[in-house]
């Protein structure tokens, strides 16, 4: 049994069979074949090459059909490399003359080519990835092991990977993927958010561990504690089964809250909105009794396809959400991605600092046709219900004005063509940069609502990359600098009479509920899974008590002190609720 500690990013406990997806992956030992077995092994190699070629052809044809000739050319190049006579000779010679195990021959030979490519001071260096790809395919066919890809899973598994990209996470099959754990990644990364949205337990940032596990072994994934247990013993499995059972009971108890309002003991009504990424999550929010969708992330539209989403793609997604919400508010946030995350090749050049680079509203304002397409779809959806639009990562007033101008322009366009939309659609902005928080008194005059995105606000305020393990511990919602910006933002909004919402992970954690209510927040936007718990918390506190807690916390000078204090307050609250 091996117990690993990582960072919990999506709650829940699951026990299942491991599916290992690693980066460079196969640890191929240096093995030799018996002289007498050389012919059999050569035949096995030839067979694997044939299978690999057929796979590449299938991929080429599929991609050709879906995306066109240009993308298919990549597989054409793979095929050409696979069929390279020089390579085939070398592989054969390695097995026949040196008696290398075919797996070893493949790995050694191809990696040698990859190394040569990598050493080139030329764009050919990128071809090294192709070589690794070919190596992987060949090895998969040689080993014939359970190295399924994510797309072809057909039984329940716990996915263990070096890293998962947001689009890989978004494409996980919820029916079969019971949880995932990765060596890389940090809290608040897009991947973590997607996992939470899909309600798949997830642990990231574990560090190297894939060498210790093979596919098919039982694995326990504890997304509450951030623990992954490899080869668990019977006792541990039994213990976790009990925990799974207990969690189900709590869920049943919380589900009774569904139709009760989120009202504090001193009669203050709090709005609890849902954060969603996929239209399918709307049902989970409604089932748990939400007051609307406070944050509809639209990135998945851009992440799941190599092609830019069309107006119809956008509209269909928005329509299904808006109609399902039956008149309740739906806040749609425009694209909040960096150019580095997009699959579509819209922007050239590599950015040294993508977090500080061309992303979110900056990217939208740079790519006007793409931005207009999204705005058109949002406006069209506004004819169907209470739709509101929100711009992410605004850091200057000019950006806000430009975005509003584009919106006005698109409205004019729609009006000219007699297409229905709500001309009074509320327009809001995210407050997630220190600049926006500090200048909010200026911004607030030009928006109908604001939403404080704590994830980015913390990252930009404390200058911490939340995905970097080395400094992730500096990323702390309790930091006084963060709390001051939060309070200032809430005060400015309250004074101007503009509704404010907090939609970062902070609002989804009961630890902060009292603090946030005490600072004057009356609307929280949280993942569907957190709605019952947050509602329960709101119903168990009084605003008067919360104010005292907020005052105390804001007077403290260190994150650790604040955290300890809030934890104690939460413990007291839980003790009272249970009693």
């Amino acid at each position: 049994m091996l117990k690993l500690q990582g960072i919990p990013v999506s709650p829940g406990v699951t026990i299942g069979e491991a599916l290992v997806l690693d980066a460079e992956g196969f640890r191929i030992p240096r093995r030799f074949v018996e002289r007498s077995a050389v012919d059999t092994e050569l035949a096995r190699l030839a067979h694997a090459i044939g299978d690999t070629a057929r796979e590449m052809e299938r991929n080429r044809d599929r991609i050709h059909e879906e995306l066109g000739q240009q993308y298919a050319a990549i597989f054409e190049a793979h095929l050409a490399m696979l069929h390279d006579p020089r390579l085939q000779e070398e592989l054969t010679a390695a097995v026949r003359d040196r008696n290398w195990w075919p797996e070893y021959a493949v790995s050694r030979t191809l990696r040698r080519y990859a190394k040569v490519f990598q050493s080139l001071d030329n764009h050919i260096a990128q071809r090294a990835h192709d070589i690794y790809d070919i190596e992987k395919s060949l090895l998969r066919n040689l080993l014939g092991q359970r190295r399924e890809t994510l797309a072809s899973i057909s039984q329940p598994v716990v996915v263990l990977a070096h890293n998962l990209t947001p689009s890989e996470t978004a494409n996980l099959d919820r029916q079969f993927v019971k949880g995932f754990a990765t060596e890389l990644g940090g809290p608040g990364s897009h991947t973590a958010i997607v996992a939470e949205g899909l309600e798949i337990p997830a642990v990231v940032g574990i560090g190297p561990f894939l060498a210790d596990v093979s596919g098919g072994e039982p694995v326990i994934l504890d997304g509450n504690q951030g623990v992954v247990i490899l080869q668990p013993d019977e006792e541990t499995i039994a213990q976790y089964r009990l925990e799974e059972e207990a969690a189900r009971h709590v869920a049943v108890r919380l589900s009774r809250l569904r139709d009760l309002p989120a009202e504090t003991s001193d009669g203050v009504r709090v709005q609890i909105m849902g954060n969603i990424e996929f239209p399918s999550e709307v049902d989970q929010c409604i089932d748990r009794g939400c007051d609307g969708i406070g944050l509809y992330r639209t990135e998945f539209l851009y992440l799941t396809s190599r092609q830019e989403p069309t107006e119809v793609d956008h509209y269909e997604a928005y329509r299904s959400v808006v109609t399902a919400m039956k008149g309740m508010p739906v806040v749609i946030r425009t694209l909040d991605l960096g150019a580095d995350k997009m699959l579509t090749e819209t922007t050239p050049g590599e950015e040294r600092n993508p977090c500080l680079g061309l992303r979110s509203i900056r990217l939208s304002l740079r790519q006007l046709p793409m931005f207009r397409t999204q705005l058109r779809a949002i406006l069209r959806a506004s004819a169907l219900g209470d739709v509101r639009v929100m711009f992410p990562l605004v850091s200057t007033i000019v950006e806000l004005r430009q975005a509003r101008m584009v919106l006005a322009d698109v409205m004019e366009d729609l009006a000219e063509h007699g297409i229905a939309f709500n001309p009074k659609m509320p327009v809001g902005m995210m407050v997630e940069t220190p600049a926006a928080a500090l200048m909010l008194d200026v911004f607030i005059k030009e928006v109908d609502f604001v939403s404080i995105g704590t994830n980015d606000l913390i990252q930009y305020t404390l200058a911490v990359d939340r995905g970097n393990k080395e400094v992730a511990d500096l990323y702390n919602a309790c930091d006084p600098a963060v709390l001051r910006l939060l309070r200032r933002s809430l005060d400015v909004a309250a004074e101007a009479g503009v509704p404010a919402n907090v939609c970062g992970q902070m609002s989804g954690s009961v630890m902060y509920t009292q603090l946030l209510l005490g600072m004057g927040l009356r609307q929280l936007s949280v993942p569907a899974s957190a709605i019952p718990e947050i509602k329960q918390a709101c119903r168990s506190v009084s605003v008067a008590d919360c104010r005292l807690i907020a005052e105390k916390a804001l007077a403290m000078d260190g994150a650790r002190e604040v955290k300890t204090f809030l934890r104690d307050q939460l413990r007291r609250l839980l003790a009272e609720t249970v009693a």
């Binding site: 240009q70 190049a77 490399m81 390279d84 764009h123």
Partner: protein
């Protein structure tokens, strides 16, 4: 381009008496250099001939029938290469390969990378 490449047929000292080596200088004119697609075309063409085809760039030599080896030359746009053909059909092979370079591998300047 044809204007940039100089035809020079000669006997190479290393060749066996009956196998003549023919060589010709070519210039890589593709904007992206000798990348995957032209390298593939080149290797395919080279494999159509019996003769041994080699590409020589300064100190490096590559088997013209192997896309992997051709790629390791990392020949950028403007690179001068010598194509050597040795074998019974060397003259025709050299002509065919040279013509690929002359035609710029049927690529327009500034076209997409693969």
């Amino acid at each position: 381009m044809a204007a940039n490449s100089r035809e020079s047929l000669h006997d190479a000292a290393s060749a066996t008496p009956r196998e003549k080596t023919f060589s010709r200088e070519v210039v890589v004119a593709n904007s992206q250099g000798l990348h995957a697609r032209p390298a593939d075309l080149l290797a395919r063409e080279a494999r159509r001939w019996q003769s041994r085809i080699e590409l020589v760039a300064e100190s490096q030599r590559a088997d013209g029938k192997s896309i992997l080896e051709v790629l390791t030359l990392a020949a950028e746009s403007g690179t001068r290469l010598v194509v050597e053909a040795t074998g019974p059909d060397a003259r025709e092979a050299l002509e065919a390969i040279g013509s690929l370079f002359d035609r710029n591998f049927n690529e327009h300047a500034g076209s997409q990378n693969t």
